[in-house]
């Protein structure tokens, strides 16, 4: 039994990217007290004036009650729940800035699916280093922003060591098209979120090369196995990887053409350079960054993650795609479940 607030908490969504905007829109549609913080004042003004986010969600009308702001000092203290939807590269700086105005009663949830580059830290760890928040959670699952904006049904996991966080989030999203399930495994959820973007890069490539459904299923299954091995090595629960944040997110990200990382994988396989793709995309393909962090971390832990190694070789070591495929197929296969973590 735990105590919960008697009122609907007010929310500040931080980050005007596709996912952050979509979450703020859903909450506003549910008549929740929500505001959207964006870094640039002109973007906030545009959202308030035109009720759309032309850069990240073109063609989608936002709930007219949704108000945006660029004033952190004014917005943070007023919110009971902060939802951080900030790319991993900017996460620490934003968390530190938020920390100037944060107090211990506030709940902080992030939706960022990535790891910090240099430190390999998960975003909840970055939060713990940068601000006084303790009641921290992560929301993760198969949540393509475009589908969320259309009001199509979706589900996600809200993981936190604090029931107060997960219960408040369920309360906030109750009745909306986004169904939240509670969990306690912060580590597994964050690892799954970062890792699935790497597999999505490969999935895009597999489809672009026309390798077939069998190959795709092979990639996803073995990718999930590698994801779980890393997660368990870091202290996560193996069961998490069979849930929404694990296989659920993997299925959506690796099969939908709406997925950014999948798109990047497709374009890479067609011969475009990473630099050219990055320059042309407003969105962040977290998988590109995550590959580096996960590859380094796996090596430090003594884990042999062949799919991650192959993608790393292609992205950062100058290997050609045929060489990478050859490398993968020539590996001894062994027993399927021998490398799966035991519960």
């Amino acid at each position: 039994m735990n105590a919960t607030s008697s009122t609907v908490p007010s929310v500040l969504v931080l980050g005007g990217g596709a996912f952050g905007t979509a979450l703020a829109h859903i909450l506003a549609t549910q008549q929740r007290p929500v505001r959207l913080w964006v870094r640039r004042p002109e973007v906030a003004e545009a959202i308030n004036r035109e009720h759309c986010n032309a850069t990240y969600l073109p063609g989608h009308a936002l709930a007219p009650t949704l108000r945006a702001t660029a004033d952190l000092a004014e917005a943070v203290p007023q919110a009971q729940v902060l939802l951080l939807a900030i790319p991993s590269r900017h996460f620490r700086a934003t968390a530190r800035a938020v920390g100037d105005h944060l107090q211990g009663h506030q709940l902080v949830v992030h939706v960022t699916k990535g790891l910090e580059q240099e430190s390999w830290l998960r975003m909840s760890q970055v939060l713990a280093e940068e601000c006084c928040a303790r009641k921290i959670g992560v929301l993760s699952g198969p949540n393509l922003a475009d589908e969320l904006m259309r009001g199509q049904p979706a589900g996600a996991l809200i993981a936190s060591n604090y029931d107060e966080v997960s219960l408040a989030m369920q309360q906030l999203f109750a009745g909306s098209s986004l169904r939240l399930y509670r969990g306690r495994d912060l580590i597994g959820t964050e690892v799954a979120g970062a890792f699935k973007n790497i597999v999505a890069l490969a999935a895009g490539a597999v489809d672009a090369l026309g390798l077939g459904a069998n190959a795709k299923a092979l990639l996803l299954t073995r990718g999930l196995s590698e994801m779980a091995r890393l997660g368990v090595a870091l202290g996560g629960d193996v069961m998490t990887f069979g849930g929404l944040a694990g296989i659920g997110d993997l299925m959506a990200t690796c099969t939908s053409p709406l997925s950014r990382n999948y798109q990047v994988g497709q374009r890479l396989a067609r011969g475009e350079s990473l630099a050219a793709i990055s320059a042309a995309m407003p969105h962040v393909a977290e998988g590109v960054w995550a590959t580096r962090a996960v590859h380094a971390q796996a090596r430090a832990l003594g884990l042999d993650l062949s799919i991650v190694s192959a993608i790393h070789a292609f992205l950062y070591e100058g290997w050609s795609l045929p060489d990478v495929l050859q490398r993968l197929s020539s590996r001894p296969s062994g027993e399927e479940l021998a490398t799966m973590p035991t519960h």
Partner: protein
């Protein structure tokens, strides 16, 4: 505890424990059944004496109430059992004896440990001799902060626990710092010890009978600690529970008692008390030699993970051993380091000497807000358990960083790693038993290994992750080895290792492993050497 407070504390403990377990007739009956079951199990092996007979009679009566009594009778039985447990825990306190003990302590420790004669002891007290313990117990760290915060709120001191001497030395150290005695729970066996018992009893200790496994008893213990904090009594918890068996820096803490700091803070806020704050102060005690090392490591190895919970026949129960231990340590001018760590609030945030809580970036925060629900400090057991778990993590991190590495540990760790590397095919137990290939190590080969381990430890010390004894900071491997050998030669039944010409002979490998374990968890030597 002051006499007038004891009555008030008793009333509050009774009120809370009885209230908690009598929310329904079923809850009351269940807790009484558990108490009856656990207590009868304990009494099966208790010595036959008047006390046991009285307790057996009490539980026979309780059984009658459980079979025939109505809800009111069972509640009355609950009140009686809680009251009896409270009296077991708190015992009989005499303020006059307390005053005498406080006066005796600074000199008596030395006196006690130099001679067992009460006359000699009295002589020293009257003569006011400030013998040498003060020189050998080196206090460092946040001493001023501790003193300052003890004026602003209630302290919960959370030391590492290696030896039954810990609480006595802590009592001495607190006195040196000008602080009043701290309340703490000491095992019943320590009260029976003729040397330690006197001080235990009269320096704020309450009695913990670890044989009593009834939930209700543990609840009374915890509640007593919590209420005493609320009343402003500084407390001393050993969060690791019993003495660490392996010799390693403890990395796990028991959260039940630790959580009473937060509980007291919350009660204080809700009651609007003028000085509501509770500060948690981690602390480490670092010995060159540990009084009970031989027994502790034997217990650790006998059944890893199934250690005896209670040891009542170790070195600390033998006055002669305690005497030998101290006189020989003194003869070497050995140092015992007591490091007071960074004070924390009950959530694990660092606290300034003026009592302000800081976030990880050093910004001042309003700590009571961690307890707010709808703007009011409110209990949430799940949340509060999680806060306490995080506090526990910060305490163990502080312990690791505030551990002072000494020569016996550095030399042992180096030697143990070498033994493991030289005998890769032997498992831990076989290596302990046989010593592997040869019982001696060439000093020419050993010194570079020692230098390498020391260099890694210096790296950790530079990064603030470990502290080094001054001898280790000087960095002369020969002096370090000689210091370790001198220590090993003077106290233990057999030396852990000794010098034979230009070779080093490992004699008691159990002890080598015990002292080596101090570096376990620092990644200075490969992890596999511990398995």
């Amino acid at each position: 505890m002051r006499g007038e407070d004891k009555t008030r504390v008793r009333a509050q403990v009774m009120d809370r424990c009885v209230g908690r377990w009598s929310v329904s007739a079923q809850a009351c009956e269940r807790i009484l059944e558990d108490t009856l079951h656990e207590e009868r199990k304990r009494l099966e092996t208790a010595p036959d004496n008047a006390l046991s007979a009285a307790q057996r009679a009490r539980y026979d009566a309780l059984q009658g109430v459980l079979i025939r009594g109505d809800a009111a009778a069972q509640r009355a039985a609950l009140v009686e059992v809680v009251g009896a447990f409270f009296d077991d825990v708190v015992g009989h306190f005499d303020p006059r004896v307390h005053a005498l003990a406080t006066r005796l302590l600074p000199v008596a420790l030395n006196g006690l440990l130099r001679t067992l004669s009460p006359l000699r002891l009295l002589d020293m007290v009257v003569g006011g001799s400030q013998a040498r313990l003060g020189d050998q117990l080196v206090l460092s760290g946040h001493l001023d902060d501790l003193r300052a915060l003890a004026q602003r709120g209630t302290i919960v001191l959370t030391p590492t626990h290696a030896s039954n001497l810990d609480s006595v030395l802590l009592g001495y150290a607190l006195h040196q710092l000008g602080l009043p005695p701290f309340t703490y729970g000491a095992g019943l066996n320590l009260f029976a010890n003729p040397l330690l018992g006197f001080f235990m009893h009269n320096l704020g200790a309450y009695r913990v009978d670890r044989r009593k496994q009834a939930r209700l008893y543990k609840d009374v213990l915890k509640t007593y600690a919590g209420v005493s904090i609320e009343q402003g009594y500084h407390n001393l918890f050993f969060p690791g529970g019993t003495r660490c068996r392996s010799g390693a820096v403890e990395h796990k803490v028991k959260l039940g008692l630790l959580g009473m700091g937060l509980d007291a803070y919350l009660h204080n806020l809700r009651a609007g008390r003028p000085r509501p704050d509770v500060f948690v102060v981690p602390c480490t005690l670092n010995y060159q030699l540990v009084l009970e090392a031989e027994t502790l490591i034997r217990d650790h190895l006998a059944e890893q993970g199934k250690s005896r919970f209670i040891i009542d026949d170790d070195e600390s129960t033998q006055p002669k051993r305690i005497l030998d231990f101290f006189t020989r340590l003194f003869s070497l001018e050995s140092r015992i380091h007591l490091v007071i760590g960074q004070p924390l609030d009950v959530f694990g945030n660092p606290v300034t000497p003026t009592g302000l809580s800081l976030d990880p970036r050093g910004r001042v925060i309003d700590r009571q807000r961690y307890l707010f629900i709808d703007g009011v400090p409110t209990s949430d057991p799940q949340r509060d358990a999680e806060y306490t778990r995080e506090l526990g993590q910060r305490i163990t991190a502080a312990w690791a960083a505030d551990t002072v590495l000494q020569s016996t540990q550095l030399v042992s760790a180096t030697l143990w790693a070498h033994l493991r590397a030289s005998n890769p095919d032997l498992d831990l137990y076989r290596l302990l038993r046989t010593g592997g290939q040869g019982s001696q190590v060439d000093l020419v080969a050993f010194y570079p290994l020692l230098e390498s381990t020391l260099a890694q430890c210096q790296g950790l010390a530079d990064a603030g992750r470990l502290r080094l004894d001054p001898l280790l900071r000087q960095g002369d491997p020969m002096a370090i080895l000689n210091d370790a050998l001198a220590h090993f030669a003077v106290y233990h039944t057999r030396p852990a290792l000794r010098r034979r010409g230009e070779r080093l002979e490992h004699v008691d490998r159990h002890l080598i492993l015990y002292y080596a374990h101090r570096l376990r968890g620092y990644d200075v030597v490969p992890r596999h050497v511990w398995r």
